[in-house]
Amino acid sequence: MTINLDSQEPVIRETRLGAVTGYQGTVGDLACQAGGCRLKNRERGFTQTTSCSSGCAQALLSQIRDAAVVNHAPLGCAGDTVAQNVTNHWGEYIRRWPYSNLPVLNTNMSEKETVFGGGEKLRGAIREAHRRFQAKAIFVTTSCASAIIGDDIAGVADSLKEELAIPIIPVSCEGFRSKVWASGFDAAFHALFQGIIQPPRRKRPERVNIINFWGRAKDRITALLGRLGLEPQFIIPFASVDELAHISEAAATLTVCGTLGTYLAAGLEQRYGVPQVKSLPPHGIAGMDSWLRELGKVVGKQAEVEALIAEEKARIAPELAQIRSRLQGKRAVLGMGPGFGHGFLGVLDELGLDVVRAVSWHFDARHDYGQCPKATQQLAERQDGLPFSVGDQQNFEIINLLRQIKPDIYFSRHVGTAVWAAKLGITTVAVTDEYSAFGYQGLIDFGHRVIDAQLNRSFAQRLSSKVKLPYTEWWLSQDAFALLKAAEEVG
């Protein structure tokens, strides 16, 4: 299986990876269907607003240190920059860098452009972005409006390359193309292949690419890899254009989340022979064992890795036993994206929690290296009967499920999800940082966080007694999947 890195646009996940956003069954069934390529998507008769590719693409590209984004769209498509600037400030804060604002220029597309075309306006915006930001590269993100009216973004970008003498790269991320917002990550990485990443000048055996979001654990990772004689290059946010240009020189690529990193990791292996570490995500013991062992194999440091693993595990064992005794048997439900969530279910298992149901925002039947995601395979081996559904943050289903299950804790990831469980009086742990439960010590820290969340439940309990849910009695008395339709063929 290869990715077409030369095409103008990346292929969306539904087609490329057999991704679905509608499924209900068990983990074992899901993994079996994915393995046999028989997985079918199920649509819904009712849906709530989800997210789109453009937000994911812009989140990554706008945080490159010395690049800029021109968002060819009506003003609302830049709505995500408000939140992204918050994470930008957060990233600058933890790096002790001065604060800056995101270099994003929106073309403010109006009715006129939808009638007469927006090519000339885009040309002006790219020139203006170049003047304002003195960027080393400009990414041009598309929108539903620019795509439907058929603006020739690639043509405009090409026509300015000579004049501005920097890469100007179209990023095809219009929202209506894919139901899977993670397609926008692929669009951002595809853009890197299109105009940023250079062939290696030399190989750097000490360098390891790490695909992540904000990199809060960067100092810990630097120390960890340092013990193996390796050094990390964090991708994409807060990297520079020059650093990204040379990620082809690394000895290996690791990713903190399979959903996030699949396209870039596989593409780097395919085009430049940079081995992709095909492991679990690095959360908890099993995750970190897998992350380090697979890395060790790739860079030839198995002995060092085994020594490190043994030392760290021995160190945390007594405290972990204490944590497990306090959380043993607590019933948990998890709702997260697949790359992160399927691995994170292992963390909950290691903490002694009893996971009774999991929901995934989408599911990729395979990753770009051609196999069903490793985390899903392992999960199916460990707990094949676990009730499992896929829904793109469809709160009406989740609320219905949680109300029936009444778990002790709900673990969520993604802004705007945790509150709904809290409104049911359920203790909620929002796992917003990608390095929550990172490795051995991270597991201990996270375990204490879960214990603390259980200690004082008054806020959620009081809130739930005072607010009304927006659902009708009719809906709350239905099966949670009553509006999930029969399957149809995909990919």
């Binding site: 600037n85 929106n106 403010n108 539903c144 209506f176």
Partner: protein, 445 residues
């Protein structure tokens, strides 16, 4: 309208979904792409004062999540299905279908879909709010127009006697969610009206909802407390129900402006002057009790009080704050940026409201909703002392460069949690004074 926009200060027309959410138990139904709701909610709701999802906002908003299929084959059928199921699943009093770019460009017949539900007696209305049509200020008025035409007119026609209720005043002012302080401000305005014997009818926020909406046609008059947003709505209400309106363009902050507002309002409403003067005297006494106590500090501070002040805000705040700081706190203005994409036909009037605030004090006014333009203009100014910058979270970066003091009052406000705080009226002016000087005092302590 700025040609390009860096650092957004408002969103597109579909942002009016937050106007719907501001009406208790009203439910927006988006006929739009999958990311519109999330992006608009995160800018206007979640990361702007952390206003959150509320009853059915954020990722709970019904949406067709239109994809390739709806773009190529049309989305009417999908909208019909999602609307029908919304009525079954979401417990609401009023449902407002809002279109995004996809539906408006491919030309879905959304009106026809909505009419089918209306014929069945369902409280469903629709507005065309494709993002390319304008800002959320534009969308806000389209939503109100849709509610007036498709919901209120049939209500008024069915009522046997839609007699005017004397003293009932519909309150139209700040745009919900765009103004992070909207709930507090509307409540404060309501209290001002009550203080002189009027009955405020506030549609948005706590206590509002469809009952308040249904009273709209019965009002004695509409009050528009806004420089330009809402003018179309009060005109439309006048045409639809014959209700006159009183337009006071300045958002009243502080005793001078609030007193002027109350006197003119009372005059319009036919309320006796003595009653209003008694209210003003009582409120001013309360206000000056606190200001007198703070005056020691304000006249003797060693903390390096700000030199000139700059506002970078919607016209509501730019005008309201500027007039308060000049009239009541005796500050001096530098340039004032108005960032609400003010239509050209309203700019001259707004310019005029900045004149004659105090003798010899006339701030330059710049209309710009492009943050890059604001940043470059600010860099060109030579401030002799540390300026006070009343803008948004974006402007804190410029404020640091200028060694200024910054207080965020305009979208986006992502470094403050906003609950019931209000800046309107007498108490609002005290809050604003507290906030400004707390920024200054905490800067070095």
């Amino acid at each position: 309208m700025s040609q390009f926009v860096e650092q957004i200060r408002q969103v597109c027309a579909l942002g009016a979904m937050q106007t719907v959410l501001a009406i208790p138990r009203a439910v927006p139904i988006l006929h739009a792409g999958p990311g519109c709701g999330q992006k608009l909610w995160s800018a206007l709701g979640e990361y702007h004062g952390y206003q959150g999802s509320g009853y059915t906002g954020g990722h709970s908003i019904p949406c067709t999540n239109s994809g390739e299929k709806e773009v190529i084959f049309g989305g009417d059928e999908r909208l019909r299905e999602v609307t029908a199921n919304t009525l079954r699943v979401i417990d609401g009093d009023l449902y407002v279908i809002l279109t995004g770019c996809t539906a408006d460009i491919v030309g879905d017949d959304v009106g026809e879909v909505a009419r089918r539900f209306q014929e069945q007696g369902k409280p469903v209305v629709y507005a065309e709010t494709g993002g390319f049509k304008g800002t959320n200020f534009y969308g806000h008025e389209r939503v109100l127009e849709a509610i007036i035409d498709q919901y209120l007119k049939p209500v008024a026609a069915a009522a046997s006697a839609s007699a005017v209720e004397p003293g009932l005043v519909n309150v139209w002012s700040v745009v919900p969610y765009q103004d992070a302080f909207w709930t507090g401000n509307l409540q404060a305005i309501g209290q001002l009206l009550q203080s002189i014997g009027l009955t405020p009818n506030i549609i948005f926020g706590p206590g509002g909802g469809v009952d308040a909406l249904r009273r709209v046609p019965k009002a004695q008059f509409n009050l528009l407390l806004s420089p330009w947003v809402g003018l179309q709505t009060v005109h439309h209400l006048e045409q639809s129900f014959g209700t006159p309106y009183f337009h006071y363009p300045i958002f009243p902050i502080g005793p001078t402006e609030t007193g002027r507002f109350l006197r003119q309002l009372a005059d319009y409403a036919g309320i006796a002057g003595e009653r209003v003067e008694a209210v003003i005297a009582e409120q001013e006494a309360h206000y000056y009790y606190y200001i007198e106590r703070s005056a020691d500090f304000l006249f003797e501070s060693r903390s390096g009080l700000p030199g000139r002040f700059v506002t970078i805000a919607d016209s509501f705040y730019a005008l309201g704050i500027t007039r308060f700081l000049i009239q009541d706190l005796g500050m001096l203005p530098e340039v004032q940026f108005i960032t609400d994409d003010t239509p050209p036909e309203h700019q001259q009037a707004i310019n005029g409201y900045f004149e004659n605030i105090a003798e010899g004090v006339r701030p330059p006014v710049v209309f710009a909703n492009d943050g890059g333009e604001v940043r470059e203009a600010l860099r060109a100014i030579r401030f002799r002392e540390r300026p006070l910058i009343l803008g948004s979270t974006w402007d804190r970066v410029s404020a640091r460069e200028l060694k200024g003091y910054s207080l965020s009052v305009s979208l986006p406000i992502s470094e403050r949690l906003v609950l019931s705080r209000a800046y309107a009226g007498y108490d609002g002016a005290l809050r604003l004074t507290e906030d400004i000087y707390s920024v200054i005092l905490s800067d070095y302590q």
